[in-house]
């Protein structure tokens, strides 16, 4: 997009705010609308915008394919691992109430809150990884016909 110079400048201005807004949705989702899925998609949209304007190679310098391949399973592992921690702490799978007493009272307000935070984090990481990966895969192939 060399010839769209104004578009490049405006995108540079806008991308940080999109990423910041993704983090806001991720970590504020307990209080307002939004949550992990939406945050992941917004984060991916920021990276996709970067890739659209500055080219796929530039985007892959920011978030490499290797990093994506780590991100996608990591989110699912965080989700499942939260459940396993609940099991180890003596509760049921994904029953966050048992996390109450293991983390100190000053640090975490409530076990449920901590569990939901971790789970949403896992969802967000996986979703953003998947969306960026699908964009990379579709964009990397040249038009065949």
């Amino acid at each position: 997009m060399r010839s769209f110079s104004i578009l490049r400048v405006v995108a540079k201005l806008l991308i940080p705010y999109i990423l910041l807004f993704a983090f806001y949705v991720q970590f504020h989702g307990d209080f307002g609308p939004g949550g992990g899925f939406q945050a992941g998609v917004i984060f991916a949209a920021g990276i996709v915008l970067y890739g659209l304007i500055f080219g796929l190679r530039a985007a892959q310098k920011v978030i490499s394919v290797t990093l994506l391949e780590v991100m996608i399973p990591t989110g699912v592992l965080i989700y499942g691992g939260t459940g396993v921690i609940c099991l180890l702490a003596g509760g049921n799978f994904l029953d966050y109430r048992v996390l109450d007493h293991h983390w100190g009272h000053g640090l975490v307000p409530h076990g449920q809150h901590l569990g939901i935070f971790l789970v949403e984090l896992g969802v967000g990481i996986t979703v953003s990884g998947v969306m960026i990966a699908i964009f990379y895969l579709f964009a990397a192939r040249r038009q065949t016909s």
Partner: protein
């Protein structure tokens, strides 16, 4: 949804139907992608009017941002126009009309719109709202609590579905060229 937003629902639904019909009649797939973007804008407006901001949020993030990009990326690998004008197939039309009228007949038994005595307002929602107040003190957004805590298994399954989708797309679309697997 309040009394004051009631009057805006009908025009929004009319616009949604008009957009859907236009997309169905469109032969140019590129224009269809743009119109489906408009459809998602309208859908988010409608959900917003119905007081469901979380769903509207998802629609905003997915429909406006990502899905346009992905559909255009798909178009770049296929053709830009639909192949041929489909002929009307009479058996299919009859099946569609019969099914549609049966479904429309079924809606007559449903409780009225916004009826406080409707089953969904009686059983699950009040219990969840009361339980959230008791179980999780500091989370005002009940939707997040229901998704992540009460229905945690569901959401785990959904996350796994997304993971599986990524694996499937990677297996189908990956090409082994050094410029793509940026190391």
């Amino acid at each position: 949804m309040t009394e004051s937003t009631q009057f805006i629902v009908i025009p929004l639904l009319g616009l949604l139907a008009a957009t859907a019909l236009t997309v169905a009649r469109m032969r140019d797939l590129w224009a269809a992608v743009m119109l489906s973007g408009i459809y998602s804008f309208l859908g988010a407006c409608w959900m917003m009017v119905l007081d469901a901001p979380d769903v509207a949020f998802t629609e905003a993030a997915v429909g406006a941002g990502i899905s346009t990009v992905l559909m255009l990326a798909t178009l770049s690998h296929t053709s830009r126009t639909a192949k041929s004008r489909p002929r009307i197939s009479w058996p299919a039309l009859i099946v569609v009309i019969v099914t549609g009228s049966v479904l429309a007949y079924g809606t007559l038994d449903m409780p009225h719109y916004g009826d406080p005595d409707a089953p969904i307002h009686r059983f699950p929602s009040p219990t969840y709202i009361e339980k959230t107040e008791h179980d999780v003190h500091d989370m005002p957004n009940v939707v997040t609590v229901v998704l992540a805590s009460y229905r945690g298994y569901d959401t785990l399954g959904e996350t796994t579905v997304i993971f599986t989708a990524a694996v499937a797309v990677t297996l189908l679309m990956r090409i082994r060229r050094p410029e793509v697997t940026a190391s």
